[in-house]
Symmetry: C2
Subunit: 447 residues, 2 copies
């Protein structure tokens, strides 16, 4: 179909879901023409060509729209129909359609929503899961650096924003680029004639909307910030991460790490409200993997069945040895996972960490070997006791190395280090520990 | 020795460390007389009779002192000599001497100190370890409820307190009793002639200085508070717990729980800076206890040596069974420890929690039994495989019950639930799991 001047209409291309055709059409038209066409369409259709525009033109077109149609476009960005449409698309097109939205449109799309609606909309705006963009508050008073303090306080009185967002206020320049932050306390104590640019703190940290929210929350804790400004890739202000959200993010992240450390998936929601099936599901996957992995212990034991038949006393110490190895490995893994989470250890520390933990494991092994030696020599012969004691030292050292390096290697390949759980380390140490034990026993007892 | 009018002098009683004599002397003298005597003494001596006064007289005497001697008394409260002296005393006298200090004196004693000095001084003032009193900030602008908003802002401008303490300000009545809190934002948007008592939020939560700091920090997270007012036992304002301290308290508490969950004592300080010996020491105690506890597995195995000799294949599945039991138990324990820490589960939930976890354990056991049955019937006979499968179900259910109830029982007897660590649960399940396994195998195989 063609319009009066013989060209295809945008509506038809959209209805045919012809992305290439839409791109061509958009390239051939002026912002006011595009705005005019968009205004004729249903918002859930108009949003497609709108998101296909590059960022500068997107803002131009948006500003050509009258307020009613701007609202419709913003509504389209929040619409579940848009989300369903995205899910059916090729990954490339999808990435394009949910790419970064201009800061001004993003904050307007997110304004006036409940926290739950805001998170959902932030997803449609292209902020990745668990990113700062999903947790930030876009509704806040923004001060221009050329305002006076007196005028800024008037603006504040007129707007009356949410309490959490007024303690520390973003200061921007002409291009909405973040200049810094100014504390409400500083405004109160400054002379009303002072310019904002003379009291703004330009050295305050900032976060990108796409970076992990947990990292930003821990930065706030380190730097004692009541609010952290969030910017887009062009340093334009898009929102504030406030202290209350930071507190919640840290508590949630720690809860997730606790769950992962025990070999379970994090379960959203209050413990008492979560059903039995959901709890079981959150724990089943790792247990299945681990029970399959633990068949290795059967193979190892079968491989040494000859030794076991000759010296049946060896079987007595199997649970104690692999239990102790698992404990030492879990301790190391947990220490490193936590140190990684709070930023005390980084990838480049890997050799130092492994060396430190191997010494810790060796020391602990020496101490535990004395206990094991005493117990074993009372129950069985000195020869078996010696084999057990030597195995304790070797297994503890090995467990500490495994437990400390695996979380760092997980981080290296982009996996949450917390999945290196106590059960996972224990299971790995079970099989390798038995191998160490039977090998040492073979040499010591000459079997 | 006696003074001019024939009575003993306070100095002599103090030097003789005669607490009974001091109490008598203090009871017989007026505040101004006591102040006069105190002013003559070294501050580290004067602090003893001063702290023996009851709270009301303590404040009266304090106010009789001139500023120089007030400073000396405050210095005495911070003095390490005072702490050493306390350590040598009988528990009763010590409790009296470090009992609650009047709010006014407490805040003055804590003012102007670094966070480290403040924590030490708070200890001398009688606030228990890990209490809110040790983490609060006493230096803050306090507003009287009869002030006007305009006057309050003037006070703020004149005093210029630390940024973290001005976002939300305490409002008190004549007796320094906390009336509520007022947000700086509310002051800014209110008419200058408004009275503070008309804008104060009287429903804001408050914490007692002696309650656990972690509990107060989690309350701030729940209630989205930028600052929590702290009061003494008579509801007098003594300080603010600010959001930055709350963030740090939660991160520290979670780090401690992580360490305890892995069977280690919490280690203060940055991981990279902590030495090998200190790390080993933090983990040694639990490992020693657990290796001793794990000798139970030896006893159990010995008790069933007859069965093992008849069906040696039974030994093959020991590591897999106790490993799986340990994993299920660790998952339950970690879930409950975390739910307790963030306040989702309380003591009265014990029966419900045990019932829920036993069903989760049973479900997981059913699933894992299928896997174990398959593996075992491929390797050994169907009879042994059936015994293994039944044992998996029983052990998983049992492990989930143990793992979920033990943290709650720990809390009941006043122990941090986080000490019920994954290694502890695993070790307990090791011995009991073997007992279950050999018993079931005995019945199924008729041995």
């Amino acid at each position: 179909m063609a319009d009066d001047d013989g060209r295809e209409q945008l509506t038809d291309l959209v209805e045919a879901n012809d992305l290439t055709g839409m791109r061509l059409w958009l390239a051939e038209h002026q912002p006011y023409e595009i705005a005019d066409e968009l205004a004729r369409m249903d918002s859930h259709l108009a949003i497609i060509p709108f998101r296909l525009l590059d960022r500068d033109r997107e803002l131009e077109v948006f500003e050509e729209l009258d307020p009613v149609h701007q609202q419709e476009i913003l509504g389209g960005l929040r619409d579940s129909a848009f989300r369903e449409l995205l899910e059916e698309m090729d990954p490339d097109d999808r990435a394009r359609l949910i790419g970064e939205v201009p800061a001004k449109i993003a904050t307007r799309a997110l304004a006036g929503l409940s926290p739950a609606e805001r998170r959902m909309t932030a997803a449609l705006l292209g902020y990745p899961e668990d990113s700062v963009g999903r947790s930030m508050t876009p509704e806040t008073v923004i001060l221009h650096r050329d305002l006076t303090v007196g005028r800024a306080l008037e603006v504040l009185r007129a707007k009356g924003a949410e309490a959490e967002t007024v303690y520390s206020l973003p200061v921007v320049d002409d291009g909405r680029r973040l200049a810094g932050m100014v504390g409400l306390g500083d405004l109160v104590v400054s002379d009303p004639g002072t310019l904002i640019k003379d009291v703004v703190d330009v050295l305050v940290p900032r976060a990108s909307a796409v970076e992990p929210a947990e990292k930003a929350a821990r930065l706030m804790q380190e730097a004692n910030l009541v609010a952290l400004p969030v910017v887009d890739s062009e340093e334009r202000f898009v929102g504030l991460l406030t202290f209350d959200d930071a507190l919640e993010l840290i508590e949630e992240a720690d809860s997730e790490d606790f769950a992962r450390q025990s070999g379970a998936s994090p379960v959203a929601g209050h413990y008492v409200a979560v059903g039995v099936l959901k709890l079981a599901r959150s724990r089943a996957v790792w247990l299945l993997l681990l029970i399959v992995a633990s068949t290795l212990t059967i193979n190892v034991t079968q491989g040494f069945e000859g030794s076991l038949e000759k010296v049946t006393a060896l079987a007595l110490f199997m649970p104690m040895l692999i239990g102790t190895g698992g404990n030492v490995g879990s301790q190391s893994a947990t220490a490193i996972v936590r140190a990684l989470a709070v930023g005390e250890v980084r990838m480049r520390d890997l050799p130092g960490v492994a060396w430190k933990e191997s010494r810790v494991g060796f020391l602990l092994g020496m101490m535990l070997a004395l206990v094991a030696m005493t117990i074993a020599s009372l129950l069985v012969g000195v020869a078996v006791a010696a084999a057990v004691a030597l195995s304790v030292i070797a297994i503890c050292t090995w467990a500490a190395i495994i437990g400390s390096t695996m979380p760092l290697l997980a981080r290296k390949v982009g996996v949450d280090p917390a999945v290196v759980s106590a059960p996972m380390v224990s299971t790995l140490v079970d099989a390798t520990g038995l191998l160490i034990y039977f090998s040492i026993a073979g040499v010591v007892l000459g079997i």
